[in-house]
């Protein structure tokens, strides 16, 4: 099959806007079951997103964004990501993310009674994803 037929539609929707919509050749992101990369003709699947970096590959062009929460619906020729929180690297405040990271790390290290560990860990993951997406 010709190269340009290996593209599928990627649509990323947030509650406030349509974040991204285009024909792409591959998309990678983090799910609760681990990292996945999706090409065209994937079997229909619904996955829950874990904080991480979203990588969109479109021909030679690679785009990245920090994706924090939501879920995705994969169909053979279309991928829809319902993102609760997603940011382009340009929109991220690195200083704030660093601060959030140290705060979350501290909370996890101290492990004080009454701390919601799951939430603290999630906050840490989010902060790390933000920082990494800017760095790369």
């Amino acid at each position: 099959m010709a190269d340009d037929n290996r593209n599928f539609t990627l649509k990323i929707i947030t509650p406030d806007r349509v974040f991204y919509e285009d024909e792409v050749s591959m998309v990678e992101f983090n799910t609760v079951e681990g990292e996945v990369g999706i090409y065209k003709d994937h079997i229909p699947m619904t996955m829950i997103i874990a904080p991480g970096i979203l990588t969109i590959t479109r021909g030679d062009e690679v785009k990245e964004a920090a994706l924090h929460a939501g879920f995705t619906e994969v169909l053979p020729d279309k991928v829809t990501i319902l993102a609760e929180i997603i940011e382009w690297p340009a929109e991220i405040d690195v200083a704030r993310a660093e601060e959030a990271r140290s705060r979350a790390e501290e909370r996890i290290r101290e492990h004080a009674p009454g701390t919601d560990m799951a939430r603290a860990e999630l906050a840490l993951k989010r902060a790390v994803a933000r920082i990494e997406s800017v760095r790369e």
């Binding site: 947030t14 079951e33 619906e73």
Partner: protein, 287 residues
């Protein structure tokens, strides 16, 4: 007949009221445009969310998940979305009526109020106000919706409440706003199933992780998106309702001013005629 001075004063006061209503109409028109745009933008997310959840439930019909059956508690939580400011016609009272005139028992309800007007009225009627967040409605954000749904789901999981409802005003178009009572939890699987069949559900969907866990994670997001959708639509409806109310107020003021102008002119003419008659009568008496 009222004196000329009285009529003039009254006309002046109506004119200044009209100026206010006119200005308020303009403001809410602008706000409506913005809120409408937001409501439309969030619709894509909401529709997609709804489709996914219904197709999931259609497939997972037989699941015995806590989110799919009513909790043991008699208590019901209602999220009531109203505005902070009045002068919006029947906007707020229509939402409140959903609760006071609905078939709820007053003792069973816990109100999560968003917007001051609804909270004040329900409090006066003796309802239990559990939470009160008047600021959210000014600038609805997804983070706010997340905070509310987290609280609701925590009490639901703890068995403190058995059902969750959302009372808001649906924004159908600029002139039609429908007060709506929506059941958030438990999700009614049977209804959802029928809907999914109608829309000609998509090919067999696989879930990762398994159905049960996926439901655990998706349903809270579903509830959040419904609440957010409700907030955004209520915001649009509020401004739409205010625009309409102010529009008719302006028209009414115009009518009253016309009527008063007529009365004023008549009174003026009457007094001139009277003066003339007096002068002529006086002149006749002398000659």
């Amino acid at each position: 007949m009222a004196s000329m001075r009285d009529i003039k004063r009254r006309k002046g006061s109506i004119q200044s009221t009209q100026q206010i209503t006119k200005a308020m109409k303009l403001v809410s028109t602008v706000k409506l445009q913005r809120a409408k745009q937001r409501a439309e933008q969030s619709k894509a997310y909401f529709n997609c969310m709804y489709e996914t959840v219904t197709s999931m439930l259609a497939k997972a019909g037989g699941l015995n998940h806590p989110y799919l059956k009513a909790g043991a508690s008699e208590k019901k939580a209602v999220v009531v979305i109203t505005s902070n400011r009045g002068l919006a016609g029947g906007y707020n009272s229509n939402v409140v009526k959903l609760i006071t005139k609905g078939d709820f028992k007053k003792e069973d309800l816990e109100i999560y109020a968003i917007g001051k007007k609804g909270k004040d009225t329900l409090q006066r009627h003796g309802y239990m106000i559990k939470e009160d967040d008047p600021d959210i409605i000014e600038e609805p954000s997804y983070v706010d919706a997340m905070a509310i749904s987290r609280k609701l789901l925590a009490s639901y999981a703890a068995g403190e409440i058995g059902e969750i409802y959302l009372a808001y005003t649906r924004f159908k178009n600029t002139v039609v706003h429908e007060p709506t009572l929506l059941k958030l939890l438990p999700v009614e699987a049977s209804e959802a199933k029928a809907d999914a069949q109608e829309t000609g559900s998509k090919a067999m969907m696989n879930f990762e992780p398994e159905d049960d866990e996926a439901l655990d994670m998706i349903i809270p997001k579903y509830v959040t998106s419904l609440i957010y959708g409700g907030l955004v639509e209520a915001c649009a409806s509020e401004n739409g309702a205010r625009m309409q109310a102010m529009d008719s107020a302006t028209t009414n003021a115009e009518e009253m001013i016309d009527h008063l102008s007529l009365m004023y002119n008549r009174a003026r003419q009457g007094s001139i005629t009277q003066e003339l008659t007096e002068i002529i009568a006086g002149a006749n008496a002398i000659s």
